[in-house]
């Protein structure tokens, strides 16, 4: 068989062309969960901690008074700390808003975990497998948002009332917000979002252009934390 060099190269490139075409056509498969925090609604009650309370009570998050050892999943932080590299308007300088794990699209924590205890689910949630966590705290060092807490001691004595339906953690394990995967998997919204009476925490599918969160984000600009790092958080702040 006689085949010219040009023809050979043309046919050899065919599979790659097909692959590229497939890649270009493929749409996002399934949801990618995200949260939009509407500060105007959240600011209606500055001292409110309902989101934190609902989360921490249900997930058996211990209340440890020592700030160096405290464990937090969702909490309120001053915006000057939330957006350290932004020039905030005066009205936000002393204001605060809820912070949590950002469930980054490009999470640095999962890259450094030596045991695969923290990993990204296909729906974008950065999940923790506490069974596998060896407490090395690499993920805590990697997370640019300080979203992770370490159990320096047995957390049980610091849990006022244990919710039997949810497991506790042990000494030597890192924990953080999981976007309530146990609720998402049965079709419910995260607790913080449901607990907020002002509907300041809008949860939904970022891949669905008609979802509540996308509608909100297309109407008003949503700022993400520390965009310069390229982590692409799934939590947006509407300030």
């Amino acid at each position: 068989m006689n085949i010219s060099r040009k023809t050979f190269v043309k046919f050899a490139a065919l599979p790659f062309v097909a692959l590229a075409a497939k890649g270009a056509r493929s749409k996002p498969n399934g949801p990618r969960w995200g949260m939009a925090i509407d500060h105007r609604n959240c600011a209606k009650d500055e001292g409110c901690t309902l989101c934190t309370d609902a989360c921490h009570l249900t997930h058996n998050v211990p209340t440890i008074p020592d700030a160096r050892r405290e464990v937090k999943w969702v909490w309120k932080e001053r915006f000057s700390k939330v957006f350290p590299s932004e020039y905030l308007p005066a009205r936000l300088e002393n204001a605060s808003g809820p912070v949590m794990c950002n469930h980054c699209e490009n999470p640095p924590c999962t890259r450094v975990c030596p045991t695969g205890a923290t990993f990204k689910r296909p729906d974008g949630i950065v999940m923790m497998d506490w069974h596998r966590c060896i407490g090395c705290r690499y993920c805590m060092a990697a997370c640019p948002y300080g979203s992770r807490s370490f159990n320096w001691s047995d957390p049980r004595p610091h849990i006022r009332s244990v919710n039997a339906a949810y497991p506790c953690r042990t000494k030597g394990v890192v924990e953080k917000c999981t976007f309530c995967v146990e609720r998402l998997d049965v079709g419910k919204a995260p607790l913080c979002s449901e607990a907020c009476p002002e509907k300041a925490l809008i949860f939904g599918d970022l891949n669905d252009p008609r979802s509540e969160i996308r509608t909100l984000l297309s109407a008003r600009y949503g700022l993400r934390r520390r965009t310069e790092l390229g982590t692409r958080p799934s939590v947006f702040y509407i300030l």
């Binding site: 497998d129 244990v162 039997a164 339906a165 497991p167 506790c168 995967v181």
Partner: protein, 132 residues
Amino acid sequence: MRDQPIILAGLAVFLVIASFPFWYNAATLRAAARPALQLPPGKQCVAPVKYMKAYHMRMLDSWRDQVVRTGVRRYTSPGGKTYDISLTGTCLSQCHQDRAKFCDRCHSYVGVRAAYCWDCHNSPGNAVRTAR
């Protein structure tokens, strides 16, 4: 060869002592006490009892990975019934309410520590701290 009787006598004494538990039990016709497990009345386990006895730990491992790592939260038993995959919510809440009378009895009988399950997982309704 002068010490042969002494050596043989010593060996005999050793064998008698070493085999004491066997011939003592045979002589008194008493079987060792087996752990009495508290079983839920008239309930079907999520898998055949024989399988559960031998492989419950593997099933729990696989349940754990399914829920935590793949988000699969329903289990279909060989009998076609479906269950929520949950140690506290299904195993304990629906059948083995008192793990001290089920899990712990067998585990202490055979001298196997039940992994770390109870360091984190709770017995149904226990609003108190559970000791390890």
